[in-house]
Each structure stands twice: as structure tokens, then as C-alpha cells.
Amino acid sequence: MIAIIILTAVLTLISFVFDRKKTLKGIKKGMMMFFKILPTLLSVIIIVSIVLYLVSDEVLMKYLGKDAGLGAYVSAAVIGSVSIIPGFIAYPLAGILLKTGVSFSVLSVFITTLKMVGVLTIPIEARFFGLRTAIIRNSLSFIGAILVGGSMALIFYYI
């Protein structure tokens, strides 16, 4: 975290030396993006906070935690492939699950399948590329996502 703050400070300074106007424009742009996303972020975290209070840790761990074993990875891959969750909701959710005890390995499978495979958007994809191509692309992406998620799971499992 501190590294990012230092990096931002240094880059802002360099950018400022080269072009004052551009730098201010960039900072303004970034802040606007932040404020635009803030209400949605707050309401998502509020809902997740309440849901996690109501759903006991035991239930959550039963499906996604260590107790679920390999099943946790299967659930993560299936949920990730089918759902269309925008990043600004998926990441807070993943971060919170991490705090509740879901492992990095399971979360990597979830995030990679979520990003690379879109089963529900195949009909839209098919309008541009044709159904066959869309299905082949998503199947290949699924294999790719499992490879990425699986290697990350292994790495996180051993460190």
C-alpha cells in the first residue's frame, strides 16, 4: 500500500514538472472517476456487510472454504463462468471473502473464470462472431482460465 502511495507521489511530481495543466487534468479525471463510483461502492459494501452478518461463517466455509476441499474450486469456477459481475462489485466481494477465510487459491479461480468466460454473453458474442466461434472461444477461454486459476491456486497454496 505504501509503495503505491510513494509511486503515485513520484509519478505525479514527474508529470507535474513536464506538464502542469495535463497533470491537474489527470488528477481531476481520476478523482471524478472515484466519486462516480463511490455511491455504488458504498451500497455494495453495505449489502455485503448485512448479508455476511446473516449468513454464518460456517455456511460460507462449507461451500467455499477449506472444508469444501476440491468442491470449493468447482463452485468458484462455475459461479465465475456463469455470472456477469462487474469488477467494482466482484473485487470488494472477493476482498471480503478473503477476510472471512476463503483462500487466495479459490478466489483466483473465481476471478479468472469470471473475467475470461462469459456463458451468458455468448448470444451477444454470436451476433458479431457467429455462434460456433463464440462457443469455441469461450471453451478455450474456460480451459485457459482453469490453467491460470489452477497455477495461481498452486502457487498460493505453497507460499
Binding site: 488528477i27 478523482m31 459494501i45 448485512i50 452478518y53 473485487y91 462472431f129 466461434t133
Partner: protein, 177 residues
């Protein structure tokens, strides 16, 4: 004002209801309410409110120095490694869901981008989005992001190459939706 309200018509009621709920929980010493606020909500949000503005400043600076239009202009004529690098950069700058990338793919196709690069573009834009990186690093840590991106890049170049070969071999076309 009306526009703002419409955009967040779901979020504002949730936030207001939550403020009222937490406020009255403290007033009446309603323990579940206090617990939801202190143990869940506050512990989730406190880092973010500090970290996200910093990350968004980075995103904003990146945006003014490397604009999407500038990158797009050079893609048509570029090929080889340079073409792949440019197409990946453009993909990383893409915001929004995957299906927002399909119309862009069509435009790139019309401009003469190769099928292989189009499929690399599609995978790349679903794997890394610079604006979303702030969220990923904020919630899962920089180690997670770097590892995921490093492992993903070769995988989607391979997927893109296979798809490109298939697409060209069968003489397929990208249609406009």
C-alpha cells in the same frame, strides 16, 4: 440533479437507510446493528477510502498521458510484436464489460486488424482493465494482480493465436452486431 438521482436510484436509498439504521442502532444499543457497522462495514471500507483515491489519481494520469485515441490511431498499420503490444495496451484501457469490447472488435476488423490480434484484444480486455486494477490491488493485493496478469498474458496470446488461425482458415467475418 435528476440525472444523478437516476444513475444512483438504487444506491442512495440503500445508503440513507443504512445511515438511519446504524444511527438508531447506536441510539437504542441494538447490538446486531452495531456489529454490522463496526465488524463488517467499517473494517471493509476503511482501507479503501484511503487507497482508492490514490489509485484513481494514477489511472487519471495514465489516461491523460496515454489516451485511447492515440493508441487506436497506430493499430491499423502496426503488426508483429509491436501490433500485439499496441492491441494489448488498447485492450487494457478498455472500460466496461466484455460485450462492450465486441463493437470495438468490429471497428478494428474493418480497419484491417488481423483476426489473431482481434482475439488477443478480446481476451486481453477481459483480463486486465487499467481502471479496474485499482480495485483488484486494493482488495486482493498487488502480489495477486501481478501474478494473475503474468500468468494470463501467455495464455491469452495462445488462445488468440489458435482462434485467429481457426477464423482465417474458415474465412469467417466479423459482423456489425
Amino acid at each position: 440533479m435528476n440525472k444523478i438521482y437516476k444513475k444512483y436510484k438504487f444506491d442512495f436509498p440503500v445508503i440513507i437507510a443504512f445511515v438511519v439504521f446504524v444511527g438508531s442502532s447506536y441510539y437504542y444499543h441494538y447490538n446486531p446493528g452495531i456489529s454490522i457497522f463496526e465488524h463488517n462495514f467499517w473494517s471493509f471500507i476503511k482501507e479503501m477510502l484511503f487507497a482508492l483515491p490514490v489509485m484513481f489519481i494514477l489511472v487519471g494520469l495514465f489516461d491523460v498521458w496515454v489516451s485511447k485515441e492515440k493508441v487506436q490511431k497506430h493499430i491499423g498499420e502496426a503488426s508483429g510484436v509491436k501490433g500485439i503490444m499496441l492491441i494489448m495496451l488498447l485492450a487494457f484501457m478498455q472500460a466496461g464489460p466484455l460485450y462492450a469490447a465486441f463493437p470495438v472488435a468490429y471497428i478494428l476488423w474493418k480497419k484491417g486488424t488481423s483476426a489473431k490480434n482481434i482475439f488477443i484484444y478480446l481476451s486481453a480486455s477481459s483480463i486486465v482493465k487499467i481502471p479496474m486494477l485499482a480495485f483488484e490491488i486494493g482488495f486482493l493485493g498487488i502480489q495477486f494482480s501481478i501474478l494473475r496478469i503474468m500468468i494470463s498474458i501467455p495464455v491469452f496470446i495462445i488462445v488468440g493465436t489458435i482462434m485467429g488461425k481457426y477464423f482465417t482458415k474458415n474465412k469467417l467475418e466479423i459482423k456489425n452486431g
